[in-house]
């Protein structure tokens, strides 16, 4: 239990505590500002940390990463703009809540759920860092593909009224994911000779396009029809406070999200966005009130927020012991270790054990710091933002969408991608196609394709490789079983309520 002396040594160091609180605040602000991401902030602050002691530098950047991930939910709820890729799932319910004047409530749920998820992830990391690394090594391409396969089932729970349109949307997502370099042969495909397209379509511009710009276009159309008779965002006292009674139903979703996120964090490369969507899908499937999900259910904020924050902790295990970064932030942290002359690898826990546990302790204190700032500060921010009338807010959102798409990679081409995706998102809304299914399959398709083809190259028995390896087989069966249950559920619903498929 090396964590306790580490916690104590961090708590008795006032400058370090100050750095943690500062990092928590910086992370929240950059996460909440559309166009700034925690990874961009870390990259910018990296040179400064060269002159700090290693623990100071690592703790500062690590906490920014953590609180930035949480800060993304603020932008998702208030502006419908995913501050980070991981918060796209949060906006599905978070933004409708904000529009009905419950922004403060939604943000408090997001804060509590983030803390729960993040702490669960960190506890798992502290307790089982060696074990996690061992698992990550056992999972080769066939196992990873089986996990992707099981994750695809999630699409079923967000698929919406029309199964045909839902599947078409998912296929569209897969098709977009195919653009760029072939993951195995490194040859260009679907690039039509365009150099920019050879890099593939970025997740951030795509999401900002379909979610934000698409929404703005849809709203503009509504307004024209309604001749300006659209309700303004009103914020009331009751919309900002959160009672225990209200949070209680969120609790199981937060804990489930925490487990899903922590599990996904163990697997290098899957990432927070996938964790958030899986948790959202699973949550909706098990919810008592699935009809409210997507229209402003507090549980729909709790599930993805807990999951995307829970990824942070366990993803440090493959990073520290195997040198595999699970995210951009992970890659930068890896650089910081090396710049300070600390060799990342299986020997890290022998050579720099104290430092590593102190870093974990800083991470936990960082969670508490952003939790406190978020819980009491976010409501104030929400109140301020919602005072802005929609006819001012929408142009602002419109503008930030452009800034956000450009600044993620400093690429004008991404702005084009976002604009095209925006029109696509608007058309998909108009004709009832399913945007969530499209984005989820986009996120999953790349990894699934890569691992599937790697498995076949590795295998001497063709596709049988998935059956021969027990872990892979287990996940395939899990996926198929979930699918079978889902079909049975739909058939039952259909029998009960003739006509509609009910579940949205």
């Amino acid at each position: 239990m090396e964590i306790f002396p580490a916690l104590l040594s961090v708590l008795t160091d006032p400058t370090l505590l100050f750095a943690i609180v500062l990092a928590a605040a910086v992370g929240m602000i950059v996460g909440a500002t559309p166009g700034l991401t925690a990874s961009a902030a870390i990259a910018m602050l990296l040179p400064i940390t060269f002159y700090m002691p290693p623990l100071f530098a690592l703790a500062f950047l690590y906490v920014i990463g953590k609180s930035g991930r949480y800060g993304g939910s603020i932008a998702a709820i208030l502006f419908n703009t995913p501050g980070t890729a991981a918060s796209a799932a949060t906006q599905i319910d978070g933004y409708p809540l904000a529009r009905s004047g419950k922004a403060g409530k939604a943000m408090k749920v997001a804060t509590i759920s983030s803390i729960i998820g993040d702490l669960m992830g960190d506890i798992l990391l502290v307790v089982g860092v060696g074990f996690i690394a061992a698992i990550a090594l056992k999972l080769g391409p066939p196992e990873t593909f089986a996990i992707y396969f099981a994750a695809f089932v999630v699409i079923g729970s967000v698929i919406g009224k029309s199964i045909v349109k839902g599947l078409a949307s998912a296929l569209l997502g897969i098709l977009i994911a195919m653009v760029g370099l072939d993951p195995i042969s490194s040859e260009e495909r679907y690039t039509f000779g365009s150099f920019d397209l050879s890099n593939g379509v970025g997740l951030v511009p795509l999401m900002i396009g379909v979610f934000v710009l698409g929404e703005v276009f849809a709203q503009m159309e509504e307004r024209r029809k309604a001749k300006g008779d659209i309700e303004e965002n009103e914020s009331s006292e009751s919309g900002n406070s959160l009672s225990w009674e209200e949070y209680k139903p969120c609790l199981p979703h937060a804990f489930r999200g925490g487990f899903i996120g922590a599990g996904i964090g163990v697997l290098p490369g899957l990432g927070s966005a996938i964790a958030a969507f899986i948790s959202y899908g699973e949550g909706k499937r098990r919810a008592k009130n699935p009809e409210k999900w997507g229209k402003g259910a507090l549980e729909g904020v709790a599930a993805p927020e807990a999951a995307n924050n829970a990824v942070s902790g366990p993803s440090m295990a493959p990073l520290l012991t195997l040198g595999i970064p699970g995210s951009t932030i992970g890659a930068i942290l890896l650089g910081v270790f090396l710049i300070h002359g600390i060799q990342v690898g299986p020997t890290l826990f022998l050579t720099d054990k104290e430092l590593v546990y102190q870093l974990f302790a800083c991470g936990m204190l960082g969670i508490i710091a952003y939790g406190v700032i978020g819980y009491f500060g976010a409501t104030q921010v929400a109140r301020l933002i919602l005072k802005i009338p929609t006819n001012v807010l929408y142009p602002m959102i419109f503008l930030t969408a452009f800034v956000a798409a450009y600044s993620a990679r400093g690429s004008m081409f991404d702005v084009t991608v976002m604009t095209v995706a925006g029109f696509g998102g608007w058309l998909m809304r108009k004709y009832d196609f399913n945007i969530a299914a499209c984005v989820i399959s986009f996120v999953l398709a790349k990894g699934a394709e890569e691992t599937f083809r790697q498995s076949l190259l590795m295998s001497e028995s063709g596709p049988l490789v998935f059956v021969e390896r027990p872990i892979a087989l287990a996940f395939l069966i899990l996926g198929l079983a979930a699918m079978a249950f889902r079909i049975r559920g739909i058939l039952k619903e259909r029998r009960i309520a003739q006509g509609g498929l009910g579940d949205a």
Binding site: A43, L46, P47, F50, A136, L137, K138, L139, G140, P141, L181, P183, I184, S185, S186, E188, G193, F195, S198, N199, P268, G269, P318, L322, G323, I324, P325, T328, G330, A331, I332, L333, L334, G335, L338, I339, G341, I342, Q343, V344, G345, P346, T347, L348, R409, G410, E450, Q454, L457, M458, E460
Partner: protein
């Protein structure tokens, strides 16, 4: 006293003349220098750039700012520098071997040898043949024998087709007349993890990737004539008498084509000084890499001869 004034006046006069003839170099650098790295932060080339940036203090009067422009196998960043203003404030540091190979295999107008000026080489990344610790292969000959006994049964991992690790591996296979199925992974870290987890029989990955993983992996040989300057315990193909293709990746700083010659020369001199600084070597040592300096002309010659070595392998790739 009088004499002294005269001398100092003369020195000043000479200094003025020198500075007017070399006005561009004397003016440079006035602003921070942007060093574009066409890969993500945290990678091998990025580590070199960060170390340059840290060690440049005291040698260059302005900061060296590392700008990561990843994408398209390093061509994204190269594209942004090839069209940059040639004023000496935008340069690129890239992994020369990977850059050369991607210009050969991909549809691009950039020519690694012609589109830029070579400023200097500051480091070297070399690929090597590694196996998991529990592998039955104790030597390179074991791998060759196993592949010959059962052609096509072995699987080997590398960090992406068309990269210098892949081409180096292909060169090893072709020169020894053996066949094995390749399994590409995305980048060095995942390749190493896959090899540790015995997902493949052997792999070609950077020799520096062994640092800290000596208990998990066994490096059988480094892909060069002589041993690596830092990972000295790993034998080389050259000393083992095993034929190979001389593909490596010198870490080179490039400047846009029309950058004034005196600015390039000034940067070259600065890089030579930086490469000699002990701090620079220290920053790189934990990564298993170190400084390997060559001036611009020599770096260009190295890359030119590598192109000749790689051409047949690349042709076998693209057909």
């Amino acid at each position: 006293m009088k004499r002294r004034t005269f001398v100092s006046a003369a020195v000043a006069a000479i200094a003025v003349t020198v500075s007017t003839t070399a006005s561009m170099a004397a003016d440079w650098p006035k602003r921070p220098i942007n060093l574009v790295v066409p890969y993500k932060a945290g990678g091998g080339t990025d580590a070199y750039a960060r170390a340059i940036s840290a060690a440049a203090e005291g040698i260059l009067d302005v900061p060296v700012v590392v700008v990561n422009k990843p994408g398209s196998g390093g061509l994204n960043g190269a594209n942004s520098v090839v069209g940059a203003r040639p004023d000496g404030y935008t340069m690129m540091m890239t992994s020369g071997g990977s850059f050369l190979l991607s210009t050969m295999t991909r549809d691009t107008e950039i020519d690694a040898l012609e589109s830029f000026q070579f400023v200097a080489q500051v480091g070297q990344l070399q690929t090597s043949l590694m196996v998991p610790k529990n592998s039955p292969f104790q030597s390179v000959q074991d791998v060759i024998d196993a592949a010959k006994a059962n052609p096509g049964s072995l699987r080997w991992a590398h960090s992406g087709r068309g990269g210098f690790h892949h081409v180096g591996g292909l060169g090893f296979l072709a020169n020894n007349g053996i066949e094995a199925q390749d399994v590409p992974f995305k980048g060095g870290g995942p390749t190493r993890a896959a090899l540790i987890g015995s997902q493949a029989d052997f792999g070609f990955l950077g020799v520096q990737q062994l640092a800290g993983f000596e208990e998990q992996l066994r490096a059988l040989a480094v892909n060069s004539q002589d041993r690596d300057g830092i990972m000295k315990n790993v034998p080389s193909f050259g000393e083992l008498g095993i034929p190979f293709a001389a593909v490596s990746s010198p870490v080179i700083v490039f400047a846009p084509k029309d950058t004034p010659a005196d600015v390039v020369a000034a940067m070259e001199a600065a890089l030579a000084q930086i490469a000699e600084k002990p701090e620079f070597a220290e920053l790189l040592a934990s990564r298993g890499t170190g400084p390997v300096y060559q001036n611009g002309a020599d770096a260009k010659a190295t890359l030119t001869s590598m192109k000749a070595d790689a051409t047949p392998l690349v042709e076998s790739l693209t057909n």
